[in-house]
């Protein structure tokens, strides 16, 4: 049972982790609760649905196309919505309200285009990966692998490239980085492109695992945000590990109590962290 619990924590935590990392990445350069990130997740899943189920394209084409489209949409939103707001000196509250408005528009558009019903993604045959004691569906295995790969890549980009240095500079002080000649808006644009890519990937994987419906993005984003806050949104290891921490707490709750306690456990932990350790488990080292 312990092994099964561990596997389940890995599956659930990996799903939360991808979103938590994308959220933390965006927060590092543009610190506000961007709810349109939830829309990007839904776009990823519905993109594959439109291209595979409706247009009949093979998954080899539809999955990468959908993920790239998510990255582009994320960058376009940053360029044409949030950057103009930021240039006008809008507060994070204004940006949050703007993102809420956009999220509502996008959700309604998905409703209108695809209907309110749950849908499933086609084009792949269900296969299991044997893990010895138990087996898990291939899509869940890919989610775990993707979570670790994305974590590794994000760390390489952030800590071993010049671009990563500029991102960290904006994160430390947007004003100072601007004075030193960095183009903050360009950096935020590239980060939103990367975050859009990760969120699109998460949407596709979730779509294949549990189906899709118009509000899916918000529910997933919420768990991603909780993971990032628990882990510490100021670091990249924080959201990655926070997701597993949240998944473990939820699953232990299910194991010890019952399924209906799952969300309650998650939100109690969230509130406790907000009250007693708002900076999260992992805190960024101050130089």
């Amino acid at each position: 049972m312990l092994f099964v619990l561990l596997i389940n924590v890995l599956i659930v935590g990996a799903g939360y982790g991808l979103i938590a990392m994308a959220f933390a990445l965006m927060c590092s350069v543009s610190p506000f609760f961007n709810l349109t990130l939830g829309s990007i997740i839904a776009f990823g899943a519905y993109g594959v649905y439109a291209l595979t189920n409706l247009a009949g394209l093979p998954v080899e084409v539809s999955i990468p196309t959908s993920i790239v489209l998510c990255a582009v949409i994320s960058a376009l939103l940053e360029r044409f919505v949030y950057t103009p707001f930021r240039l006008k000196g809008a507060s994070s509250m204004v940006l949050l309200v703007a993102s809420l408005g956009l999220y509502t528009i996008f959700e309604s558009l998905i409703h209108l285009a695809f209907g309110p019903q749950y849908q499933i993604l086609g084009g792949v045959t269900a296969q299991n990966v044997d893990l010895g004691v138990t087996s898990i569906p291939k899509v869940q295995f890919i989610t775990i692998v993707a979570d670790f790969v994305v974590f590794g890549l994000v760390n390489v980009v952030l800590f071993h490239t010049f671009f990563g240095k500029t991102v960290r500079a904006v994160n430390d002080s947007a004003k100072l980085s601007n004075i030193t000649g960095l183009n903050n808006n360009k950096i935020i644009l590239i980060v939103s492109l990367l975050a859009g890519f990760v969120l699109g990937l998460s949407g596709v994987l979730t779509g294949y695992d549990t189906g899709l419906e118009p509000t899916m993005g918000f529910n997933l984003l919420f768990k991603g945000i909780i993971s990032a806050i628990i882990g510490g949104a100021g670091t990249m290891a924080g959201p990655f590990l926070g997701a597993f921490f949240l998944a473990a707490a939820e699953n232990i709750g299910v194991m010890m109590l019952a399924s209906e306690w799952r969300d309650l456990v998650a939100f109690v932990i969230f509130i406790l962290f907000l009250m007693f350790r708002p900076q999260g488990i992992f805190v960024k080292k101050e130089k």
Partner: protein
């Protein structure tokens, strides 16, 4: 000349008024119906299916020579009780509806209460209804017949232990609670009994917990998409098909993931004629509630047509209409043969089906 034009206008106006009065005298009294349904949201398939069925019924009665004219107005409640209450007030106070229609669970109770206070007929399709308002008529299977259908099949398959899992919604909880009480009396041990929150999509650990108890059968009850997602994950983990659904599965067209070959489901009967007519009109399968609301409103309209108004009244009272419905005792309609009880519960028949080659096939006796 002016006098001539003026007289002509007076004559024309008089004639027009007279014609209008004549038309009004000839026009049938209108019986208004207000239907509050979940037309958007995750469960909109139930609301849209019900609306389709009610539209079919209104069309049928519009093409029949009737004493009254029947008009239906729809409002969306998104299956939220507050919105259903607002809609009901609007139907009764603004539209002056004689009948209000709602679906089940959390919405039919506030609708019943408001309608009962104002002596308006409240039609619903709730499963396992345990409130019996004076002006209520509920067409829906009750715990006993669904449980009995499941029990019969489990006994036939020699099941000695079962695991129960379902959503913590009132309807699912009541039925599973009833089953948990009754199974041990029949020699079937309940080795696991848990509920989950509506909307959950991760059942893996619950499945593992159930597997540890090694039940002969898993008895599940939740609306879609939860039923389908659970079944998919159950099959992914165990590779088995020993599942019996107390509803949802076979009764609605929405499937997130197709059911596994061989799984069992209690099936709410519908007449083949109704299924055929519905499919020809909407090119979709009949949803849960659709045929029940169709039958309920059909009974009420028929009762309106066959009940004499009291002296000085244009239409019969709702109390008399409901009494007429209850006096029918049985009804053979879109949901097959049904029993009408004095407490306002109409019980449709159910049977057991299994999934085979993309179809729900009746389990032979």
């Amino acid at each position: 000349m002016k006098k001539l034009i003026l007289s002509l206008c007076v004559v024309l106006a008089f004639g027009a008024c007279k014609e209008e009065n004549k038309q009004q005298a000839q026009e049938k009294p209108v019986i208004k119906i207000g239907a509050t349904l979940p037309l958007t949201g995750n469960l909109s398939y139930i609301g849209i299916g019900s609306k389709n069925a009610l539209d079919m019924l209104m069309e049928k009665w519009a093409n029949t020579d009737t004493k009254y004219k029947y008009e239906i107005v729809y409002e969306n409640d998104m299956l939220k009780p507050q919105q259903a209450a607002i809609n009901t007030h609007k139907f009764i106070d603004v539209d002056k509806s004689k009948i209000v229609v709602s679906v089940f669970g959390v919405v039919d109770r506030p609708v019943d209460d408001i309608a009962n206070q104002k002596k308006v007929i409240s039609l619903s399709c709730s499963h396992g209804k345990d409130t019996f308002p004076e002006y209520g008529l509920n067409v829906g299977s009750q715990n006993e017949e669904v449980y009995n259908a499941a029990l019969k099949e489990l006994k036939k398959r020699n099941a000695k232990t079962v695991a129960l899992l379902g959503s913590n919604g009132a309807v699912c909880d009541a039925l599973l609670g009833y089953a948990a009480e009754q199974f041990p009396k029949e020699g079937i041990e309940v080795v696991f009994d848990e509920r989950y929150n509506i909307g959950l999509t991760d059942y893996r650990l619950s499945i593992q917990k159930m597997e540890q108890k090694s039940p002969d059968y898993y008895v599940i009850f939740g609306v879609e998409p939860m039923n389908s997602v659970f079944t998919k994950q159950y099959y992914e983990i165990t590779g088995k098909n020993n599942l019996l659904s107390l509803g949802s599965f076979a009764n609605i067209s929405l499937k997130v993931f197709p059911p596994i070959e061989g799984v069992l489901s209690v099936y709410m009967l519908r007449s083949p004629e109704f299924e055929k007519e519905y499919f020809e009109k909407y090119h979709e399968r009949v949803e849960t509630c659709s045929s029940h609301l169709y039958d309920g409103l059909d009974m009420i309209i028929k009762a309106y047509e066959n009940t004499a108004p009291k002296a000085g009244e244009k239409v019969p009272s709702n109390a008399d209409v409901l009494q007429k419905v209850k006096s029918l005792k049985v009804w053979n309609g879109a949901s097959g043969l049904m029993k009408i009880e004095q407490n306002g519960i109409v019980r449709p028949s159910v049977d057991m089906r299994f999934y085979h080659d993309g179809q729900w096939v009746k389990v032979e006796e």
